[in-house]
């Protein structure tokens, strides 16, 4: 074997096969697959620590007390009066909380969007600071403010506004008050974001064409801010449905929401089937609302709205 032959053979081996469309396409596909693999660690974690557990609960909700497949747990949800009351309470609290959040959140977001940027930035701190503060801390603060010997009652009685301590907490009012405080930033931030994105020239044009300020607001600005309002409302409502901490502390056992029934079923009665069935109903409700909404709204927008 001569030297030349060895070299030519080596070169042959090293030389890449002539590029052709099919080969390139395969390479591209392989690369994209490899890149896609970058998602896999996160995806596998999701699968093991979230999808499997939740799936397991699904399964448990269909296993009766005798270990056979049954709808007994769901049947109980329908038959029992107390579960019916829980569902009604949950919806009441969620609707009222969301409504109040809109009523106070939209005007604030509107004001912020109209203020000069520097002042708006300062004012925004009043939204961001609560948003970043642990909701347990804020719930505790409300308990301190509203309880029998709390700040509000002490002040009210000192000033002679009322004689006996008012029942402000451990009831519906206290729960809604605390939840509005916690949920409002979730509404204000997406609404404010969508308002900033509105082109002010439209409003200017409306004014130019003779619209009064109120007219320009309701016919031009308000409709343009609706997607943000819709996203914020949705986030707040869905979060309310599954809320636990605030109603558990401020409701004082009188306002019982779905999430609380789930935990008592497990902590007190160790009834996995009942808890799972309730959880599945909560999940299906949540997803159904989100799905229905996603037909009007892109879901990414919703998610990015939620992160502020």
């Amino acid at each position: 074997m001569t030297m030349a032959m060895v070299i030519s053979q080596a070169m042959n081996r090293a030389a890449p096969s002539p590029p052709n469309a099919a080969g390139l396409k395969q390479d591209a596909l392989r690369e994209r697959l490899a890149l896609f693999g970058l998602c896999s660690p996160a995806l596998i974690m999701m699968l093991v620590i979230m999808v499997i557990p939740v799936g397991w609960l699904f399964w448990l909700s269909f296993v009766g007390d005798d270990g056979q497949f049954s709808f007994a747990h769901y049947q109980r949800l329908i038959d029992s009066k107390s579960y019916y009351r829980t569902f009604v309470t949950t919806f009441q609290v969620s609707v009222v909380t969301t409504g109040v959040c809109i009523l106070i959140g939209y005007p604030l977001a509107y004001m912020l969007s109209q203020l000069p940027k520097k002042i708006a930035g300062l004012c925004l701190i009043t939204v961001l600071l609560p948003f970043w503060t642990s909701l347990l801390v804020r719930t505790y603060a409300w308990l301190v403010i509203l309880q029998r010997k709390g700040i509000l009652n002490t002040w009210g009685m000192d000033m002679g506004l009322w004689d006996k301590p008012l029942h402000l907490v451990h009831n519906f009012t206290g729960t809604v008050l605390g939840m509005v405080h916690i949920m409002a930033p979730f509404l204000i931030l997406p609404v404010y974001g969508s308002m900033l994105a509105i082109n002010r020239d439209y409003v200017k044009a409306a004014a130019n064409l003779g619209a009064k300020p109120a007219q320009a607001f309701w016919q031009i600005f308000f409709p343009l801010s609706l997607p943000g309002l819709f996203a914020g409302t949705l986030i707040v409502f869905v979060l309310c449905l599954g809320f636990y901490v605030t109603p558990a502390v401020l409701g004082g056992g009188k306002v019982i929401m779905i999430a609380m029934r789930i935990t008592t079923n497990i902590e007190l009665f160790f009834n996995w089937g009942a808890a799972s069935a309730l959880g599945v109903v909560l999940l299906v409700l949540t997803l159904a609302i989100l799905f229905a909404a996603s037909r009007f709204l892109r879901i990414e927008r919703l998610v990015s709205g939620g992160s502020g």
């Binding site: 609960l57 004014a207 999430a259």
Partner: protein, 273 residues
Amino acid sequence: MNWLQQPASATQITHQNRLWLYCLGFLVMFFLLAPTLIVIPMSFSESQYLEFPPRQWSLRWYQHYFDSPEWLAATTTSFKAAFLTLLVATPLGTLAAYGLHVSRFKFGNAIFLILVSPMMIPVVLIGIGIFYIYAQIKLNNTILGLVLAHTIHAMPLVVIVVSSGLKSYDMSQETAARSLGASRARAFMLVTLPQIRFSVITAALLSFLSSFDEIIIALFISGGQHETLTRRMFSALRDQIDPTIASISTLMILLSCALLMLVQIFGKDKTAG
């Protein structure tokens, strides 16, 4: 007043006409801020009962907190879990966001939805599900179990924040680096990562805070000597109103403020505005 008569917007509405809006806005801001901050002065009270304003000031409840081995142990657990969650969730979430961004696969959207789903699924459900699974594999009441669960909880934040950072980044810079001979990993580390660092830092801080503040999952799966601070606070809240909680709350507000400031300083891309 002159300012009142000036137009406030292009519609020529005056500030005077808008006065009601400013008042309402101010009230809402007060409503949001005051309850958040009110525990701070109260935590310095001498009294056994919480009062505002305190009649006598003291550091008694801080003393109580720093002298209590149980509270300190819970705090340590929370810090450990939050820091480890940051360390796990940030790289995993960043990799996933990057992978989704560059591969542009058909199922990309579905994968994105799975990664952010913990945000949409009621936390209670995730909590009891994990509790059930952990009971089988004996991960309840361990730091490892807590960190894994909190990573899931923080993943949506990381993926969303880093994805939005990548959207405003010009990928052709990475292509340029690679055409000059850098491998993809090298190009990512040397060119892409430094440019999306603001989002990554924000994501990391958010994942830390989300773990530190998380209650519901911890309520189920943390306990014994690995009880988190929030869990301990929650059970203390249900039993009685202990002013020690006011002092802990104050410290937690300080922590949130510090993190919020860090995000403002390091998390914002000043060039992008």
